[in-house]
Amino acid sequence: MIWLDTLVQGILLGGLYALFAAGLSLVFGIMRLVNLAHGDLIVFAAYLVLTGVTLLGLSPLTAALVAAPVMFALGWLLQSLVLNRVLGRDILPPLLVTFGLSVALQNGLLEGFSADSRRIPAGALEGASLNLGVVTVGLMPLVTFAAAVLVILALSALFFRTALGRAFRATSDDAVTAGLMGIEPKRVFAMATGLAMVVVTIAALFLGMRANFDPSIGPARLVYAFEAVIIGGLGSLWGTLAGGIVIGLAQTIGATVNPEWQILAGHLAFLAVLLLKPRGLFPRAVD
């Protein structure tokens, strides 16, 4: 019974990680951008949502709906004004720029919101649970998982059913040839980052409702998000979900053996996957 519970909790935890990773997967997959500020952007979005809740008295969901377009615009601007200018074969300039952004964001938030631990109030949802007979699952983790699946479903539909999605994939394959098809890679990138920021807002909503956040909390989960993306395989959205679940499961199973092994087990699972499949579980045709 405990093992079943461990598995279920691990999978649900994987949903949270996948949600953190989905936006990252998008930008990493399309433009090979290692965004070290991703975690901080989630925290930033969480503060945005929180401001909507506390200042405007909105419900968390409405606040997120208001925050999403703002985040989209910020992502668009960030990409077109800054990141597009440093993207290239060399991974270092974007690495340093996003590191700079991460440091600046963290401290900007600290200046603006203080170091207090904050939380987006979710009312009854916080402690509610669903008794499935053999296991009891929290409603919040379940909703988080569902959100992750929905986000990935939506992104997949966008990716594989729409012209924009084709443009994303084509640009990711070969930006020069995409240009010959009338696609401006830089605009596509800006679009992708904007979209990733919308996903970030969703992740922020759940991060903020699920646990406390403060300005310094961003980087802690960034490694997990990267691990999920890489385990899944570059550009594979469902792979990212699978990657999140692998890490979530490894963590809960490791913790059952001994809580000391919880985080370590997640990392070891990542290393093991890479050792066996250096390009992830679902690599695509070209990298």
């Binding site: 012209a163 084709r166 994939r169 394959d173 040839t177 010959l180 098809m181 009338g182 696609i183 401006e184």
Partner: protein, 234 residues
């Protein structure tokens, strides 16, 4: 004039690949560009298509300077390119590869998914396969079809017969007259002189980044080509 280059130069870093190239293409015309490996043919195509940036006035489309435009902007003006090596998008199916060619420039014209499939019937059967799962010849057909989807005024074809079997080359070349008949001007880059002369109205021969021969296809002699190709007669 549909397209004109004026004293076009192009550089890769510190390496200059084109030295003042002048070529013209009239509407509906078929022009062949021939020359040895590394002569600068692909560089010329890339410069026209906007992949390589140039001074604005080095490339003119209907008299307007387009040398500094991005490849996307050039494409939207009706200049489509079939790049060397086909360069299909591996993540896209055959049909998606075709669709993406027509999405940025939606103008009425003879070319649509249906007419491309009519031109290359074999593609229809395989339309849900990844583009890269096809044979080289079929891939070349996709690359041509993809460029046609935007109903271009001018189609630039870089080495469309490279690495293909003779039968397949025949099929690919058989499509060119139909494309012209539908109204587009065509520039073909080709190393096979005979093949180039068989389809073109006019021919430019390039060597080391310069045009060394410009002539009507019907008037050009083998000796002249040979001289232009290899320098003075051997």
């Amino acid at each position: 004039m549909l397209l004109e280059t004026r004293a076009l130069t192009a550089d890769y870093g510190q390496f200059r690949a084109l030295f003042g190239v002048d070529v013209t293409v009239a509407a509906g015309e078929c022009v062949a560009v021939i020359g040895a490996n590394g002569a600068g043919k692909s560089t010329l195509m890339r410069s026209i298509a906007g992949v390589l940036a140039n001074a604005p006035g080095m490339v003119l489309h209907r008299g307007e300077p387009i040398g500094a435009l991005s490849s996307a902007a050039v494409m939207k003006r009706g200049i489509a390119m079939v790049p060397e090596g086909r360069r299909l998008f591996p993540s896209l199916t055959v049909e998606e590869n075709l669709l993406i060619g027509g999405e940025a420039r939606k103008v009425a014209g003879p070319w649509s998914l249906a007419s491309v499939y009519a031109l290359f019937p074999v593609l229809k059967e395989r339309r849900h396969h990844p583009g890269t799962a096809l044979s080289g010849g079929q891939q070349q057909m996709v690359a041509i079809g993809r460029a046609l989807m935007s109903n271009p005024e001018l189609l630039l074809c870089d080495e469309i017969s490279l690495g293909l079997a003779p039968v397949v080359i025949r099929d690919v070349y058989a499509a060119l007259p139909k494309i012209r008949a539908a109204g587009a001007a065509v520039v073909v880059v080709e190393q096979d002189i005979g093949k180039a002369l068989s389809v073109a109205d006019r021919v430019y021969c390039m060597m080391e980044g310069r045009v060394t021969l410009s002539a009507r296809a019907s008037e050009v002699t083998r000796e002249a080509v040979h001289a232009a190709y290899f320098g003075a007669a051997a």
